[in-house]
Symmetry: C2
Subunit: 690 residues, 2 copies
C-alpha cells in the first residue's frame, strides 16, 4: 500500500531552506498554501525555523512519527540522510534531487546504494530526479511537489514519467476548472515503480479515470498486468512520448526488425484495453469528458447545431473517428418537426437555426437523448446576439441530466460570454471550443467502452509437445544463431503447426532417399549460416519435377555454396496461396510480440502490419487478423476467394504460444505462409535462438 506516500500523516522536508527559490522551500510553501492536514517538519542543520515552522537538524530529532520525507539536498549527502530516515521509521522518501541514473554509471551506483539503505529499513524510495506527488483529497491535501499549477479536488488521477508533461496535463485540466485526485511525476523509478503506483490508483475510490504519460517502460510486463486489471472498471488514457524518436518502423526484409518501442507500447495498450493517444491536448480534452460523463454504449452520435458549417465539421470528424451518424425514429422526427422552427433541419445534424431559443434546444437535446438509436450527443451553439443564451444553457443542462448518455457542448463565443461556459461546465457538462474537439472526446469514450467490453479470454488450450520444442531450443541455446531449417520446422511441428514434408541432405547420395520421403514436385533450398537471403543468392530451386532436375539443382548449389558449410533441404512443393508473414520477436521486459501481415510488399512498402503481445487469446487472434488494412483480401473480395480464417487463427495462436512458452526464441519469421481456401502452410521459416 502506498498510503504513506499519497496519504501521509506527516511530512518532513529534508533540504528545507529559507531561500524562496529552493525546492525545499517551495514544497513547504505548496503544502501550506493547500492546507496539508498533517504536521510539517523542516529539516535543516543550521536554521532554527523555516517560514514559521520549527526546524530540526535531523529527522531523528523530530519528536513525532514521519510518514514521508521530501529530499532535495545534493545527491552525495543523501545516503547519510537515508540512514537516519530509516532509523526514524520513515515510510516513503521522495527524492527530488538529480545526479543519479540520468548522469551515468556513478549516478546509477549512487541510486542503488540509496535504495539498498532504504530497503534495509523497509522504506521505499520515490524518484529520484522527480517532481513529487499530490493528493487533493481534503482529508489529506498534500501538495508534496515543487510545481505551480493550483491544486483542487477532482476525479482524474495523473501519473507521468516526465515532470514537464505531467504538469502540462494538470495545467490544462486547471484551465477548464477541473482538478485532479492523485498526481505524481515519478522520474527515475529507482525503487517504487510506475505499475505499483498505477495499481494504487486503480484501487483508489476517488479516482474515476487515470491519465498517464510515459517515456520508457521499466517493467512492461508489470504494467500490462496491472493495466489489464484496471481497464474493465476504470478507463486509462495514455500517451507514450518518444514514439518516433526510438526509430519508427524500420523497413526491412526482416520482420523482426519491424519492432520498436512504439509498436511494443501500442501492442500493450491494445491488450490492456488502454485508450491510446498521440496528442496530449486531445487526451486532456477526452479526460474532461470521461471525468464528467459516462461512456456511451455504442458509436452512434447525434449532432445538434444552430449554424451549418460547424455541424458539417462535426460530421467529418465523427466519420474520421469511426463513429456513425445516429438516425431518429419516426416519433423522434415528428417531435423535432413540431418543436423546432419550420426552417430547422431535422436530419443529423439537427440544425435548430440561429434564432433557436431555450425551448428549441431543450426539445432537440431531449429528443435525441431519448432515441434508442443514439448513443451520445454533441450540441454546438454560436452565441447569436438575438437569443436568450442563459436560457439555452440552462435547458441544455436540464436535458443532459435526464439521461445517462454522454452529452458534450461546443460553444463559439467571445470572452464576454465566458460565464455561460463556466455555468455549463459547473453543471458537469464538458464544453469545448471546436466541434472536432467535442466529437473526438466522445469518440475516445466510445473507444474505451468498446475496449472494456471486449471478451477477455485466456489463451486457449492447444495440443502441443512442449518437451520436444524445449529440447530443440535448449540444444541451441546460447549460440545466438538461426536454427537449421529442419530443426526450425521441427519446432513448429512440435507446436502443432502443419509444415511441408522435408528432408535434410548433405551429399548427393542422400538425394534419392530425400526425394522418396518428400515426393515430386519438390523444392531444394540451401541451409547455411553464411547465406541470409536464400532466394536472392540462388539458394532456392522451385518446382523440381524429377530426380534429374533435383540432382542438377543440387550440383549447381553445391558449386555455388562451396566452402560455406552448407546443407540442403529437400522440401515438398506447395501450391502457391495468398502470401502472409507471421512472426514473433522477443520484446525485452515484456515477453514476445507477434507480428502479422500480408506478404513482403504489404509489410515492407505499405507498412500494413499488426503487432500483439504473445500469447494470444482467441479473440485477440481474431482481432489481429482484422487489424490489417488488407483484411478484405483474407475475407475474400470481389472475384477473389478468401482464405481459411479458422486455420489462420489457429496458426496465430500456435505461433504466439510457441514464442511465449519458449523465451529462448529471439526471433521467429514464418515467411511466406501460404493461405488457401482450406488450410495454411508455412513454406519457409527462420528462427533465431538467443
Amino acid at each position: 500500500m502506498l498510503d504513506g506516500l499519497f496519504r501521509p500523516r506527516s511530512i518532513a522536508i529534508i533540504g528545507a531552506s529559507a531561500n524562496p527559490y529552493s525546492i525545499g522551500h517551495i514544497v513547504i510553501k505548496n503544502l501550506v498554501e493547500y492546507g496539508f492536514q498533517g504536521p510539517i517538519f523542516p529539516i535543516n542543520p543550521k536554521a532554527s525555523h523555516i517560514r514559521s515552522f520549527r526546524a530540526y537538524k535531523s529527522v531523528l530529532e523530530v519528536p513525532d512519527e514521519i510518514d514521508l520525507v521530501n529530499i532535495s539536498i545534493a545527491a552525495k549527502y543523501i545516503p547519510a540522510v537515508m540512514e537516519e530516515c530509516g532509523q526514524k521509521g520513515v515510510k516513503f522518501a521522495i527524492v527530488h534531487s538529480a545526479g543519479f541514473k540520468e548522469v551515468g554509471e556513478e549516478g546509477l551506483r549512487r541510486e542503488r546504494e540509496m535504495v539498498e539503505i532504504a530497503h534495509k529499513y523497509g522504506m521505499r524510495v520515490y524518484g529520484p530526479n522527480c517532481q513529487g506527488v499530490q493528493n487533493s483529497d481534503p482529508d489529506i491535501s498534500a501538495y508534496a511537489n515543487f510545481t505551480f499549477v493550483p491544486m483542487k479536488p477532482g476525479n482524474i488521477s495523473i501519473i507521468a514519467q516526465g515532470g514537464g508533461m505531467g504538469e502540462l496535463l494538470k495545467l490544462h485540466l486547471h484551465k477548464v476548472g477541473l482538478g485532479h485526485a492523485l498526481y505524481c511525476s515519478y522520474g527515475n523509478e529507482c525503487d517504487l515503480t510506475m505499475p505499483e503506483i498505477l495499481d494504487y490508483y486503480g484501487q483508489d475510490d476517488g479516482t474515476k479515470l487515470i491519465m498517464m504519460q510515459t517515456e520508457t517502460f521499466k517493467d512492461p510486463k508489470a504494467f500490462l498486468e496491472v493495466a489489464s486489471r484496471i481497464t474493465p472498471h476504470k478507463p486509462i488514457l495514455a500517451i507514450k512520448s518518444g514514439r518516433t524518436a526510438e526509430g519508427s518502423i524500420a523497413v526491412s526484409s526482416h520482420t523482426g526488425s519491424l519492432i520498436d518501442q512504439g509498436a511494443m507500447t501500442a501492442a500493450m495498450y491494445k491488450k490492456a484495453g488502454v485508450v491510446a493517444f498521440t496528442d496530449a491536448d486531445e487526451m486532456i480534452k477526452a479526460a474532461i469528458a470521461f471525468s464528467q460523463q459516462d461512456p456511451p454504449d455504442g458509436t452512434r452520435i447525434g449532432l445538434i447545431t444552430n449554424t451549418g458549417g460547424p455541424g458539417i465539421a462535426a460530421v467529418d470528424e465523427a466519420i474520421n473517428q469511426g463513429l456513425s451518424l445516429a438516425r431518429w425514429s419516426e416519433a423522434g422526427k415528428e417531435r423535432l418537426e413540431t418543436s423546432l422552427y419550420a426552417e430547422a433541419s431535422t436530419g443529423n445534424p439537427v440544425d435548430v437555426v440561429a434564432t433557436a431559443g431555450p425551448d428549441h434546444y431543450f426539445a432537440a437535446v431531449d429528443t435525441l437523448l431519448h432515441e434508442d438509436g443514439t448513443d451520445m450527443v454533441m450540441v454546438f451553439f454560436v452565441t447569436a446576439p438575438f437569443v436568450d443564451l442563459d436560457g439555452i444553457a440552462d435547458r441544455i443542462e436540464e436535458a443532459a441530466k435526464s439521461s445517462t448518455k454522454p452529452v458534450v457542448v461546443v460553444i463559439e463565443t467571445i470572452d464576454k460570454w465566458a460565464p455561460l461556459i463556466e455555468r455549463i461546465r459547473k453543471a458537469g457538462v464538458p464544453v469545448y471550443e471546436f466541434p472536432e474537439d467535442g466529437v473526438r472526446a466522445l469518440a475516445a469514450m466510445s473507444r474505451h467502452r468498446a475496449l472494456a467490453a471486449r471478451p477477455r479470454e485466456d489463451p486457449p488450450e492447444l495440443s502441443i509437445d512442449h518437451a520436444a520444442a524445449k529440447a530443440i531450443v535448449d540444444r541451441f541455446a546460447g549460440r545466438g544463431e538461426y536454427l537449421p531449417q529442419d530443426e526450425a520446422f521441427a519446432l513448429l511441428r512440435a507446436y502443432g503447426i502443419e509444415v511441408p514434408k522435408l528432408a535434410r541432405v548433405s551429399s548427393e547420395d542422400e538425394l534419392a532417399g530425400a526425394a522418396k520421403a518428400v515426393g515430386f514436385p519438390c523444392v531444394l533450398k540451401v541451409d547455411s549460416k553464411a547465406v541470409i537471403h536464400k532466394s536472392d543468392e540462388g539458394g532456392v530451386a522451385l518446382n523440381l519435377t524429377d530426380s534429374g532436375a533435383l540432382s542438377a539443382a543440387f550440383r549447381q548449389m553445391q558449386e555455388r555454396f562451396d566452402g560455406k558449410d552448407a546443407h540442403y533441404i529437400v522440401q515438398e512443393q506447395k501450391a502457391p496461396g495468398r502470401e502472409l508473414i507471421l512472426g514473433a520477436m522477443e520484446s525485452p521486459g515484456l515477453g514476445s510480440l507477434v507480428i502479422f501481415g500480408l506478404g513482403g510488399i504489404f509489410v515492407e512498402v505499405m507498412k500494413d502490419v499488426a503487432f500483439s503481445v504473445a500469447p494470444l487469446s482467441r479473440p485477440e487472434a481474431q482481432e489481429m487478423m482484422r487489424e490489417i488494412q488488407g483484411f478484405p483480401l483474407l475475407e475474400g473480395t470481389r472475384g477473389e476467394e478468401g482464405v481459411d480464417l479458422a486455420a489462420l487463427e489457429d496458426l496465430l495462436l500456435r505461433v504466439s504460444r510457441l514464442a511465449a512458452d519458449l523465451p529462448g526464441i529471439a526471433e521467429m519469421d514464418l515467411n511466406p505462409v501460404f493461405a488457401y481456401a482450406s488450410g495454411v502452410s508455412a513454406v519457409d521459416v527462420r528462427i533465431k535462438i538467443a
Copy 2:
C-alpha cells in the same frame, strides 16, 4: 474591382430597424462601434431615424451616392428594392436575407430574378443568405456584418462560405490578440463568386495570407485558376467542410467511382499550391504563425526546451509532420556547451534545463538560428518558479528578431503569467500551449514554402493526333456508353499511347486473319455492353498459343455470350509486368481528374491512389507517381527491379492530356497497365463517352 464592397465610401441599410435584435439594427451598431469612415443611411419606410441617423424611405431619397447596401428585409420585397438600388447607382448589394436557393425552386427563381435586376443596372449582388463583409483598414473600418467578434486590424484575410465557420476562424484569431484584414462569409454565391473575392484578396496589399473555408465549389475551375495565381506570392490556407459527408472514397472495381468532392478538392489544392487542412483549430494556429513569421526555407527544425517530455513530444510530432531534426555544426555545439549549464543537453532538442535563465535561452535560440542547417526553431519553456521569466521572454524575442528564420514559442504556464505570453505575442512571436501545436504551425509554413517553390510548368507539347481522337469521341457522343474495345484502343493510340496489336472479330471465319495480324500467343476477349466484368464472366482467354486454342476459346465464348450482341477482340498477349491502374474521370465544373495507383488490390483494398487535375505538367506527373505509398515498388526495392518511370510519366501525361482535351470522355480506365523495366503497356481499357 470589389472596392465598392470592401472599401465602400457610403453604406445604406435596407431593413434598418429600431429593434436591437434585428439584423439591420445590429449592422448599424457594428458599423458605428468600429467607426465606419463613411456616412450610414438607414432605409426604413416608416421611421424618421434609427439610432441617431436620419432615416430615408428609399435609397432614392438619399441625397448622396451609395456604394453599398446591406439588405435584411424579407425576400419577397427585395426585387422592388433592387430596382431602386439600381436606379440609385448602388454598386454592391449584400443580401443577408434567407429564403432563396437554400429553400428550393421558388427561392432559386427569386434569386435569379434579383440578380437579373441588379445586372440591368451594373450592380453586383453578394449573398444572399450570408453574414456580410468586413474591412479593418482604419481608412475604411467597415463592419458590414451582423456578428459579434470584435474587429481589429491584422494581415490575415478570411473568406468563408459558412457564417458559423467564418466566425470561428475570426474568433480564434481574436483570442490570441490578432485581427484580420478583409473578412467575408459569402453564403449562396448567387452572383459575386468566391473566386472573384479570392482574386481581390490576392491583390490586396494589406493581406499577407488568406484563410478560407468552403463547403461546395460553385466554379472549381475559376477557383483553381485564381488560387494558382495567388499562392506563389501569398499563402492560402484552406479547409473543406464536408469531406466525408459526400461519401468517402467508395471501394469499387471501377476506378471512376473513386472520385468524390473530397478527392476533387484535394487535387485542386495540390495543383493550386494551397496549404490544405482537415482541422480548423490547426489551420488557425498555422495562420497565426504565417501572420507573424516568414516561412522556413526547408524542413529542418531546431528544438529548445527546459524540460524533457515536451521536447520529446515535439520530436514525435516533427517526424509525423515530415520535418527533420536539424544538426548543429561543431562551432554551434561548442557555443551551446560553453553558454549553457553543464547538465544541459546540446543535442536536438537542446535541453537548457529548468534552471536556465535569460542568457541561456538567448544563447540557445541565437545559436540555432545562426546554424546553416537549421530552417526554423521552436522554443518551449515551462515557467519554472525560480527563474527570471520576463528576462527569458525578452531575450528569446531579441534572438528571434536577429534572423528571418521562423521562431515559435510554446509556454506551459498558468493565468498568472498571461502577461508574459501577451508580451511575446505583441513582439510578433507566436505563442502556443502545446509543443505539438508549435511544430504543426512551423510544418504548415514549411509545406507552403515547398508548394510555392515547386516548378510550375505548362503541360508539355506531345505528339498527338487530336483530330483522329476527336472523330472517335464525336462518333459516339451522346450515347452515354462505353466505346467498343477496338475504338477505345484506337483513341489511346491517337494520343501516342502504345497499345497491344489487336483485331476485332465477329465470326469464326475472321479468326485466321486476326491471328495473322496479331500473332501468337494471343488473348481472346469478349466485347459487349452486356458484359461488364469480362474476366469474372469467362470473357477473357489468355495465352492462346495456336489457332486451335484460339478457335476453341472463340467457340466457347460464342456459346457463353449468345444473345448478348457480343463481338470479340483478338489481342497480342503481353508479358506480365507490374500491374498499374491509370484512369480519368470527368469532374463537373473542373474538367477531368486523373487517377493513378498500383493494381486493383492496392487501389480497392489498400486505398493507395493518387488524384490530380488534368492535364498534368511534367513535374505534376512525377509528383503523382511519388504520391502513392507503393512508389518504392515502382522505383525498385530489395530484390525487385523497378519499372520504366520515364515511360510511365509519359503515359500519365498522355492520358491526362486526352481527358482534358476531349471533355466528351466521361470515364477512362486503363486497367491493368503492365509496367516493365523498359516500357509500359495498357492491356485493357474502358472508356465511357458522355
